[in-house]
Structure formats: structure tokens, C-alpha cells
Symmetry: C2
Subunit: 262 residues, 2 copies
């Protein structure tokens, strides 16, 4: 029933090296360790290393020259998108890049318990669940799953969601949002997300979960976002604040037109 099984170790090493290249750990032009070196380093045979390098070569990430070595190809494929802490892409306009949104799904249903709990909803209440894909210059970089209590979700249309920022929709509906909590973590891409983001299954993803609250304390939005780390990262500036023992790092607030150095 099978016939073609994909390599396993080779794929793993492929992903690892791809990651090191993408993160700049292996800068363009750098020469990789020799195949035997990589083999012992990863505790696999040279054949496996070669397979991994084959995949990298096929992706155009490396150049292999017999007798010379293997080199990271000099090309900056895509410059990653940088967001500040509050997850606002403040520099997009300045960078002349365009972002888009694709609405992948839209429905009303019973939310998962975790979401219902976070939003402080009563059992039985429904939410509007939408899945959106954010694109930069046509390339997807984030996968967003949003839950909004049904009564609030009904105040705007599916069409609205595909064009207007959600926060604006909420405020347009008379909901005041002042407070939110968010947590940042990491996961692996499942089949669905991998497909949508154009990744291999098992690729690393940045995850962000944000819950937005109305002044009353009720939750009005639950966002679960997954980002391609090669196209998106959180950056922030810190200063030392406080006195004595309490002296610690503290984030610098983002001022109006500020942009990070590139």
C-alpha cells in the first residue's frame, strides 16, 4: 500500500540545517562542515547527510562544489517581518510592503472548552470562529484562529472580517477594548497549518495566544496565532528600570513613528 516512504533522519537534518541557514547561524557564503563531519556530528551515516544536503540543494539553499565543499547560497530570500511586542507591524508601510488577508473559514459553533474558559463564557454559548491567513507580499506568514462571542460576532459580516482589522470591527460595534493578555510559545506545524503556510509538517512555529477583554472583564476576543519564524519575529527594546534589588529589564514603549534598525 505504500511504496514510497520519506526519509526520516535525513528530513530531520534537512530541517535543522534549513533552520540554521534561515536564522543566520549559517550566513550566506559560509562553508558547511564536510559531509563526514556532519555525519559524526549528527550521529548518522554520510548517506543520510547527503540526502539532507540534496533536499537543501533542491530548495536552492546551498551550493555544492565537488572538491571544494558545500556553501550557503548568497541570497536573502525574504527579509523577515519584524513586529514589536504588541504585535503591531508598525513598519510595514514604511517598508513599502503590502500585507493581505485570506479568510479560510468562518462559522458559528460551540467553542472548545479552553477558549470558552478564557473568554469567561457560560456553557452553551456559541462563538464565531474564523481562520485567517496573513500574507506579506503574497507569501503567507501567519495563521490566525479567532474566537469571538456570538453576540459580538454578529455585528459584522464575513466580508468585513476579510478586509477590516478585527479590532476596528469590535470598536465599531461599540465594544471598548482596553486590556488584553497574551502568551508567546512555540509548536510544530500540523498538516493543516503546514499546508496553509507553505511549510513542511513538523516545521517550528511561533505561537501567540491573546485574550482581549472589555472593561467589564468579559472576554471579547480569543486569538490563537501561528507564525512562520523565518518570516516573522517579535522584537523589542529594553531598558533597565527600577531601583536596587528590583532593578530589571523593562520594555521601551513603542512611540509613534519609530522604526527598528534593519
Amino acid at each position: 500500500m505504500d511504496g514510497s516512504v520519506e526519509p526520516l533522519k535525513a528530513r530531520r537534518i534537512f530541517l535543522l540545517l534549513k533552520e540554521r541557514i534561515g536564522s543566520g547561524d549559517l550566513p550566506p557564503g559560509a562553508r558547511l562542515p564536510g559531509e563526514p563531519a556532519l555525519a559524526t556530528e549528527h550521529g548518522v551515516s554520510r548517506v543520510t547527510i547527503r540526502r539532507a544536503l540534496d533536499m537543501l540543494a533542491q530548495d536552492g539553499l546551498i551550493d555544492r562544489r565537488a572538491g571544494a565543499g558545500t556553501f550557503v547560497r548568497t541570497q536573502s530570500p525574504v527579509r523577515p517581518l519584524v513586529a514589536d511586542l504588541s504585535n503591531v507591524l508598525s513598519h510595514i508601510v514604511e517598508m513599502g510592503r503590502r500585507t493581505g488577508i485570506r479568510l479560510l473559514s468562518f462559522a458559528y459553533a460551540q467553542p472548545p472548552a479552553a477558549v470558552a474558559d478564557a473568554l469567561g463564557m457560560k456553557p452553551g454559548e456559541r462563538t464565531q470562529r474564523s481562520v485567517r491567513l496573513r500574507l506579506i507580499d503574497g507569501a503567507p506568514f501567519s495563521y490566525l484562529i479567532t474566537h469571538v462571542p456570538e453576540r459580538i460576532g454578529l455585528t459584522y459580516s464575513e466580508q468585513d472580517l476579510a478586509t477590516v482589522p478585527l479590532l476596528a470591527l469590535l470598536e465599531r460595534s461599540g465594544v471598548t477594548v482596553e486590556r488584553a493578555t497574551q502568551a508567546i510559545g512555540a509548536t510544530l506545524a500540523g498538516p493543516e497549518v503546514a499546508e496553509a503556510l507553505g511549510l513542511e509538517i513538523g516545521s517550528p512555529l511561533l505561537s501567540l495566544t491573546r485574550v482581549v477583554y472589555a472593561p467589564s472583564g468579559d472576554g471579547v476576543e480569543h486569538l490563537h496565532a501561528l507564525y512562520r519564524p523565518d518570516r516573522y519575529s517579535f522584537e523589542m527594546e529594553l531598558t533597565r528600570a527600577g531601583e536596587g534589588e528590583e532593578r530589571r529589564w523593562s520594555p521601551v514603549p513603542v512611540s509613534g513613528g519609530r522604526r527598528n534598525a534593519g
Copy 2:
């Protein structure tokens, strides 16, 4: 050299099911389809399904009862350690947990180009490179690679590094640190890191890169930290700040004894 490599199809299905559980598609308490059903559904053999379920069980996501079926477990296994934005574990003491540090390596050498660049060092200058493991209640949760310019590194000993926080060492040495930048992303665990953190190769990791600057603008510390996302996450609170078009989320500064709600 390995002996235990995870299957591929099984892993695929594992991730898929994990996603369905995490998203609430398979709510806690729900009964999964039988193994034969899952097998035909995914077009794989029952053995493969079993392997996927094994992984889920090991992650504490499901309960399997012979004769009855397989059920989504009602509680999340371990509560991760929570840090605020500035990467300070302010609640550890309150939680009654103890953290420790293990120094894995310590040496002076030429830094990688990316590090030298970030620290603004001249070519040829060396850095002190140290690798440390942070533990919580004896379990490792973060892997820290630190680079410090040689002249600064020489002001403290290897012994110091294993006991005193680096920032304190720097300030003790007369270096004033006021400013830092940091970026948060995600990667996969390589062989070394996986080993140290007790993970499988290819597990997802939270990554943090921080560069600390002296008032002169020179870089004094380059930190590359990798966290187990199941034991560590960044949490923060946000409020809406600014006016009109500029209105956006802004992090709430961490005040002295503040603690996040649990």
C-alpha cells in the same frame, strides 16, 4: 547511534490529533474513534495509529482504557513556567519552586560572524563563550549560549558564572548596562540542545536573542536562549495606548512586586 527515531507517518498523525485536541475539536473527555477506524480513516495500518496514540499518551493528552476506548484527558499535564516580557521569572519565589544553573561549557574563542557583528566587535577580537542550563525543580527548561567580549569576560571567573547572575557580574565589573534589544522566535532542537534539555531532536523551541549594550553603544553581552515551550512561556499584559490612528496595544510595565494572575 540513536536507536529510537520517531516514525514519520505516525508523527504526522500524532501532530494532527494533537492539533485537533488542542483546538478543542476533540474536547476533553471525548472518545476517539477506534484504532481500526482511525487506521482506515488515515489510510495507514493500525500499528501506525497505535504509535501516534503512544506519543499522545506519553504527552499526557489521552487516556487509553483497554476494552473501552481512547479518551481525551481532561486536564493539561504540567503548567509551564511563566515569565514576563523582560524575561524575569518574578513569581518563582512565590511559587515555591527553585531554579538552578549548570555550566556546560566555558571557553574563549573567535565568535561566529553573527555574534561579532551584533556586538560591534572588530575582526580578530575574541569572546568568552559560555553555555549554561537553567533548571526548575531539577528539570532543565532553558539552554543559554552567552558571548561576552574577552576583556569583560576576564573580570569574573568560571565559578562566578555558575552562581551569580551574569548581569550582576557585568555591573560588578563596572560595566553599566542600560539598553538591550531582544528578538523572540522559534526553532527546532538540534542534537546537542535536545540532549541537554531532555527532548527529542526536532522538538520545537522558543528562542530568544538578546544583545546588551553599554552606554557607549558597544555590545557587552550576546545571549542566545532556547526554551522548552512546555515548561516556559512569555506572558504579558497589554493596554490600548495612544490616540486615534496611533492607538495600539502597549505592554503594561512590570511593577515591583506584581504577579500575574494564575
